[in-house]
Amino acid sequence: MSIHPSPVTEAAPALPVPPASRVPGAGSLAARVGRLVGRDRLAAASAVVLVVIVLLAALAPWVAPFPGDGTTATHPADRLIAPGAAHWFGTDQVGRDVLSRVLYGARTSLGIAAAVLAISAVVGVTLGVVAGFAGGWLRDVIMRVTDVFLAFPALLLSLALAAILRPSVETTIIAIAATWWPWYARLSASVAQSVRTRPYVDAARCLGVHPAKIVLRHVLPNSLTPVLVQLSLDAGGVILTAASLSYLGLGATEPTSEWGLMVQSGQSLFTTHWWVSAFPGLAILVTAFCFNMLGEGLRDLLDPRAAGGRS
């Protein structure tokens, strides 16, 4: 009934809503976090676990009982000791403390995830917002390029890259980022496109504000919420992918502590010396799971309208 589809009037809320949150996402951030913790204990617990993991990863050189084992040290005399008092997670086939390697592995995995997501987000969101806001042929070109990249499964591209480059952590980052950025482009393009039609953007256009300024001041900040949610959901996926690449021998190589690599190296011993693969495998599982739960919780927190049935 107006230039912009009119919302339900304030006069008739469909469901009773506690006064402070009459507008979705309203209330101070602290208040919203408080409500969320009450409602979504799993996400809150996941956040706590992740904080612990990140702290442990950051402090690994000081927290790990055998820091040298995390990198290059080997102790053939102590190989394959079962989990016990001296080595909580046991030792692997060259005598390295599995706990220390798992902790150092956290640094590797989180580092890869951070690098991949940073590259993907920067490249993807930039292209996506420009495409979504500009529309027309520019959008078509960018979206077609995005589609081409989306056609590559991460593993296939990494295989190709590993054939050209040496397998390493850096290769892993490039290979995964190359297949991940298109999702961010697509996501932010669609969000930017919807933001573009909002009244406050029209108002800015009518005020003669330069398009670039409109994008930076209005479109980008209002397009970020789904991107932030996606980043958290993706962190788990990136870690899994990196682990898979290393498992296939296409990513990190010895003696780097990397969870996927550790799983691969211990798998032939699994029936007799289960701890060599089990603990890194568990680390992958827990970390990926917590990132996923956190991502879902973040989505409810930052954009309750997208929560869809959870509240």
Binding site: S2, A26, P199, Y200, A203, C206, L207
Partner: protein, 261 residues
């Protein structure tokens, strides 16, 4: 051209993609005039407003600013047009940028050095009857009426000559509506502002507008002085609109259904 209307749609055909929603619209708003564009959903009234604001290009006919077609304006002309014609939208969750503070939203239309901006913003907020301290708040902390006033202040910052108002009070509580209408009347009187009011609310038309244009399915069916159009409509559609408006303490609004047809 000095005597040309501020905004004129001349034989404008407006379309979304391949769907033409407005056919051959002639509409002019002169300095100080107040014109209502009346219609229901699907009438094309909001589309016409977008065209007047330069947000939608006509596929036929022209939209002119002071006599010159919009796409023939030079850079200086475009700047003048952008300043002179400002929108006021219906209150909603996206009328103001939810992440922007009120003061910043109002300042968006100002081209002043930073030092003078705060004072100008405070002045504008006071002009629309708001406490200048609200400049630090975010939109969700304001009531609907306050948000509408901020939207008006944002438009006034550009020092416009014509306000294009799209359902400016329809989403507000009835007591709040009355006060916003008071504000608009006052601004019109004090600044000689012209208005193009898009609405389906006939009572608001009666209050604010001198002239009225009635749109049905993208075509003008009636135009004339607002009072005459409302009290003695010539076209059956206008008459039907008028009859459908409930009057306080009056009978059930007339419809074909009510008469059992």
């Amino acid at each position: 051209m000095p005597d040309a209307p501020i905004i004129e749609l001349a034989g404008a055909d407006l379309a979304y993609g391949r769907r033409t929603v407005v056919h051959g619209l002639d509409l002019a708003v002169a300095e100080g005039a107040s014109v209502a564009l009346i219609g229901e959903s699907g009438s094309g009234k909001s589309t016409a407003a977008r065209a007047a604001l330069g947000l939608l290009r006509p596929v036929g006919g022209e939209v002119r600013y002071r006599g010159t077609a919009l796409d023939r304006l030079d850079a200086a002309g475009r700047r003048a047009y952008r300043a002179a014609v400002q929108p006021v939208f219906q209150d909603g969750p996206e009328t103001l940028d939810p992440r922007q503070r009120v003061g910043s939203a109002v300042a968006e239309g100002l081209s002043l050095p930073r030092a003078e901006r705060a004072a100008a913003v405070a002045g504008l907020l006071a002009d629309v009857g708001l406490d200048p301290a609200l400049a630090h708040r975010r939109p969700h902390e304001l009531s609907g009426g306050q948000r509408q006033r901020v939207g008006i202040a944002r438009a006034l910052a550009a020092e416009p000559r014509l306000l294009v108002l799209d359902e400016p009070t329809s989403a507000l509580d009835v007591t709040v509506q009355a006060r916003v209408l008071d504000l608009l009347e006052r601004l019109r009187a004090e600044r000689g502002l012209a208005m193009l009011l898009i609405t389906h609310n006939l009572a608001v038309v009666d209050r604010l507008c001198d002239d009225a244009v009635v749109l049905e399915a993208g075509r003008v069916v009636e135009r004339g002085p607002a009072r005459r159009v409302l009290e003695a409509p010539a076209h059956p559609y206008t008459a039907r609109l008028r009859a459908a408006v409930p009057e306080l303490g009056g009978p059930l609004p007339g419809t074909a259904l009510a008469r059992g047809a």
